[in-house]
């Protein structure tokens, strides 16, 4: 394999490593397109790679970064590379192993098999250290991934919101038709001589939910609170009545703050402007819950959905489950979103199993794809 095809190959593997799926077909198409275009303009070269390999706008920033890494010095030695690429193009298409152009040649068969084997091996390898942002768990993202990764993950959140919105619309339309409306059907059949040509149905009236979102913004939930706050920010856009709260050992309403700020600097703002620290400054679920209930409990009604985002690690403070029980009795649903993997629930100071009794459902949400799944389940 020569220098330039090797480089493109590595480029594609890096794309795959970052979670962009590049099918063998797209790869072949990319090579064919490179043969058709003139590389003297970097825009043309870049676009050729872009339009054949990438199919999803959420990954544009990632694509650009990987591109810069591989082809940054591209323009300097471009003519020779292009020449080399053209000369070896036939072999190139063969190396991919999926090209139709050379599939009939017998002499190449052995080499091709060998290459196929290699590319398979490589695919297995790349799967092993696959860094799919949707599957990257929040914990690792905060402590071991780079700041750029977190930024990129945050960029995916609006996408999540868009999908959520379209799902809500579909669901709303599907559920609009209700029971048969006898009176209106009979009435409309008058105009067709008593033959009920048009069947009338009653429209269902959906109750508009009131959402109360509580986010743990303490240090232990650092990794998760970025995403829970962004999520609350999204909820704000889709539901008429959303009230949001943040807590560490004291609960404070942050609804107006969320309305005002952009989602990517929410956390620092919440920490500086909201009154979330009580006496100790350590996470205290019991105290936070009762602080919430005492201040805002009167606003809870049968239309309310309470969403709690946190790991339920209580620092051995009193859990105060009765407050949650009272909340649950007053509202329609209580959902708890826990960023810890299920097998760690109940270990150490995690009291999620106690709180679980008073929740409608508790969801494990370690990464973006689980979060997306949960959202589509409950929307």
């Amino acid at each position: 394999m020569n220098a330039i095809t090797g480089q493109i190959q590595h480029f594609i593997e890096d794309l795959r490593g970052a979670g962009i799926s590049v099918s063998p077909g797209s790869m072949e198409e990319c090579y064919r397109s490179l043969l058709l275009t003139d590389w003297s303009s970097e825009v043309v070269f870049y676009t050729t790679l872009f339009c054949t390999l990438l199919k999803e706008s959420a990954f544009i920033a990632i694509f650009q970064e990987i591109y810069n890494k591989h082809f940054h010095s591209f323009t300097t030695n471009q003519p020779e590379l292009e020449e080399e690429f053209r000369r070896l193009s036939a072999i190139t298409l063969n190396i991919i192993g999926f090209g139709q152009a050379n599939s009939g040649k017998k002499s190449d068969q052995e080499e091709q098999e060998n290459n196929n084997h290699q590319s398979c091996q490589r695919r297995v390898d790349s799967k092993n250290h696959h860094k799919d942002l949707f599957a990257l768990d929040f914990y690792t993202a905060t402590y071991s991934a780079s700041v750029e990764d977190i930024r990129k993950m945050e960029q995916l959140i609006p996408l999540l919101g868009k999908r959520m919105a379209s799902k809500m619309i579909i669901k709303k339309r599907r559920h609009q038709t209700g029971n048969f409306d006898f009176r209106r059907t009979m009435r409309s059949s008058m105009s067709t001589g008593g033959v009920p040509v048009e069947i009338m149905v009653k429209k269902k009236i959906r109750e508009k939910p009131v959402i109360f979102a509580l986010c743990d913004v303490s240090w232990s939930c650092l990794h998760f609170s970025y995403f829970s706050l962004s999520l609350v920010y999204l909820l704000e856009k889709f539901y008429r009545q959303v009230r949001s709260f943040a807590f560490i050992d004291e609960t404070d309403e942050i609804t107006s703050l969320i309305k005002r700020e952009s989602y990517n600097n929410l956390r620092p703002k919440v920490l500086t402007e909201a009154n979330v620290c009580g006496n100790s400054g350590y996470t205290n679920y019991g105290q936070s819950l009762s602080s919430f209930y005492n201040q805002y409990g009167k606003d809870l009604s049968h239309k309310a959905y309470v969403l709690i985002f946190g790991d339920a690690r209580t620092n051995w403070f009193a859990t105060n489950p009765d407050v949650l029980k009272d909340i649950q009795r007053k509202v329609k649903r209580v959902y708890w979103f826990n960023p810890e993997p299920k097998d760690e629930w109940g270990s150490g100071d995690s009291e999620i199993l106690i709180y679980q009794k008073y929740c409608t459902r508790v969801f494990e949400c370690c990464n973006l794809s689980q979060l997306a799944q949960v959202i589509s389940d409950i929307v």
């Binding site: 077909g25 275009t37 043309v44 870049y46 676009t47 339009c51 199919k55 999908r163």
Partner: protein
């Protein structure tokens, strides 16, 4: 590169300003006979790129506007059952063979072609624009897949209809949901973003004759400043063109913050956005 320059020139004459990137994608789509999937924010010219391309090729543009719940009867074909009924009544007392009549009423005369069928059966080559593909259901997407890869459809009563000419296909999407891998794989991907300042200036000057250089650069500068803000909906190109027209209609020679304050509702469609821009301009 000659071909790409040529495409840009032709697109310019058709009233669309194309950068090197978009021209490259158009060129590749033509060479590889591939559909183009166009994504980008609302109002950056996803639909107009298809329209302009059809004009440069002098091909009829067939447009299918997708919506949630669109089905084959709306997109592909439908039997004209009223005409069939009339025909049956007309031949009722002629003692014809039943199978004869059946054959007759399921012939091409009784077929209503919808956009997709039109695009592949028309005598010449066509340009097919499938707008807002992300709105359709998965079943419809699967049907489309067959059409876009084979360029043929099978009508149960009729047989297989093969495309005479492979149409140029554009699909636009607002990314409200993820399209299936299979569909994406069949397309080239073109992402249109808000244009750079100099390109937007060219667009304004092309679309709004009589607009002076000075004014257009001032407008574009203000627009880019506004797009920097965190708005609910960014002003699109269509809105910036409207803005330029209103500037001319008001007989302004120059734009200042007063003009911007008065006419914000031309480019911004949410009260909260208008308020935000107002306060930030008032500060400046």
């Amino acid at each position: 590169m000659e071909e790409i320059k040529l495409i840009k020139e032709k697109m310019y004459r058709a009233g669309y300003i194309c950068d090197d990137g978009s021209a490259t994608v158009l060129f590749l789509a033509e060479q590889l006979h591939k559909p183009i999937l166009v994504e980008g924010p609302a109002g950056v010219g996803k639909t107009s790129i298809a329209q302009a391309f059809a004009r440069t090729k002098e091909l009829p543009l067939i447009r299918l506007q997708c919506y949630e719940g669109i089905d084959e009867a709306r997109a592909l074909y439908e039997w004209n059952y009223k005409k069939q009924l009339l025909h049956i009544q007309a031949v009722a007392n002629q003692n014809l063979d039943v199978s004869e009549v059946e054959k007759e009423i399921f012939s091409e005369d009784f077929l209503l072609s919808r956009p997709l069928l039109q695009a592949i059966t028309s005598a010449g080559r066509t340009c097919l624009l499938i707008d807002e593909i992300d709105k359709v259901d998965f079943e419809f997407e699967a049907m489309l897949l067959e059409l876009l890869s084979e360029f043929q459809v099978t009508l149960p009563e009729f047989g297989t209809v093969q495309a005479h000419h492979i149409p140029f296909v554009f699909l636009t999407s607002n990314a409200t949901r993820e399209l299936s891998e299979a569909l994406k794989r069949r397309c080239l991907y073109l992402y249109l973003d808000f244009p750079r300042a100099e390109i937007e200036k060219m667009i304004l000057e092309l679309k709004v004759p009589h607009l002076s250089h000075n004014l257009s650069s001032q407008l574009v500068e203000a627009l880019h400043q506004i797009r920097q803000m965190n708005l609910r909906k960014q002003p699109s190109i269509a809105e910036s063109i409207d803005w330029a027209f209103s500037l001319l209609a008001m007989g302004r020679e120059d734009i200042n913050s007063d003009f911007i304050m008065e006419t914000l509702n031309v480019i911004l469609k949410y009260q909260e956005d208008i308020n935000q821009v107002r306060t930030s301009f008032a500060k400046a």
